[in-house]
């Protein structure tokens, strides 16, 4: 079999695309990073009571349900004006774990969520569970952590969307 331009073309395409795919999956997989909530209104409003979680942590249906029930948001009233609500919902849905803007890590999160469910806490997803199963219960109770929603207590760069392992610093008390 001689080397033809067609064969060379197929070979090169295969090499380039496999390299690209590997780089893509390694890149977003081991980086454990999400685009942070850069939308100003979302960052301000969600960020006034807790860290403004990245939209990519939950699928669109979760955000839609949450934004419809903000007056009873985990036992607190977090209601917004209809205009603010619509703008934030749009941003969250457009950047959700199952949106077309999702990276590989987000799509993995989305695929682990049963289709009939719309979890309201990322900490109750399978993905969070298996990444935190080595953290003993007593550590969660430490005063400086206090809540599973308090990502920044251990993930020092969580606010910028980065959750990589070497940035973890668990508070001693």
């Amino acid at each position: 079999m001689g080397i033809t331009f067609k064969n060379l073309g197929i070979l090169l395409t295969t090499l380039i695309s496999s390299g690209f795919l590997l780089g893509y999956s390694w890149g977003s997989g081991s980086d454990a990073s999400f685009p942070p909530a850069t939308h100003k209104l979302t960052a301000e409003e969600c960020g006034s009571c807790h860290m403004a979680f990245p939209a990519g942590l939950l699928p669109a249906r979760s955000w839609q349900h949450m934004m419809k029930t903000l007056d009873r948001h985990f036992g607190e009233d977090a209601s917004l004006s209809p205009e603010e609500n619509a703008a934030i919902t749009r941003y969250l849905v457009d950047n959700a774990a199952d949106s077309r803007n999702a990276n590989l890590l987000m799509r993995r999160i989305a695929s682990g969520i049963p289709s009939g469910t719309a979890p309201q806490r990322f900490t109750e997803t399978r993905h969070f569970g298996y990444l935190h199963d080595e953290v003993p219960a007593n550590i969660w109770k430490r005063a400086k952590i206090g809540s599973k929603a308090n990502c920044v207590a251990c993930h020092t760069r969580a606010e910028s969307g980065s959750f990589i392992e070497r940035e973890i610093k668990i508070p001693k008390d």
Partner: protein, 129 residues
């Protein structure tokens, strides 16, 4: 639709909230409620209320016993001090003040606050030196 048909509502939307002073915000509440009482506001700030689920809450649950101190939400996010003497931004944006009264009154009292309660509350916090 011409572009200028959009211009006016867009300008209105982008207009920044008018900055006011805590005294101006207090004056607006007093206009609707009558004279405010810092002493009543202080009592209100520390009052404990039992929610239908049995949880005992008060303003101090998140804002601490000291209005000049930094507080903490249930999700452990820092809350800037309530007293204007410790936080110059406090009570300077009427829309923000109303938004948080609406939310937090429901959280603590399971109802909205009266204008009198709001006036007293602001009067108390302005009086903190």
């Amino acid at each position: 639709m011409k572009l200028y048909h959009l211009a006016v509502p867009l300008l209105l939307l982008s207009a920044p909230a008018r900055a006011e002073t805590p005294q101006q915000i207090l004056a607006q509440y007093q206009q609707q409620a009558g004279a405010a009482s810092a002493a009543r506001g202080e009592k209100f700030f520390f009052a404990r209320n039992t929610l239908p689920n049995g949880e005992v809450v008060s303003c101090t649950s998140c804002h601490t016993d000291n209005p000049k101190a930094v507080g903490k939400t249930r999700a452990h996010k820092q809350v800037e001090p309530l007293a204007p003497v410790a936080n110059r931004e406090r009570f300077t944006d009427p829309a923000k003040v109303e938004k948080w009264f609406k939310r937090n009154c429901k959280d603590v009292l399971a109802r909205e606050c009266t204008v009198q309660e709001k006036a007293d509350f602001v009067a108390f916090l302005i009086s903190v030196k």
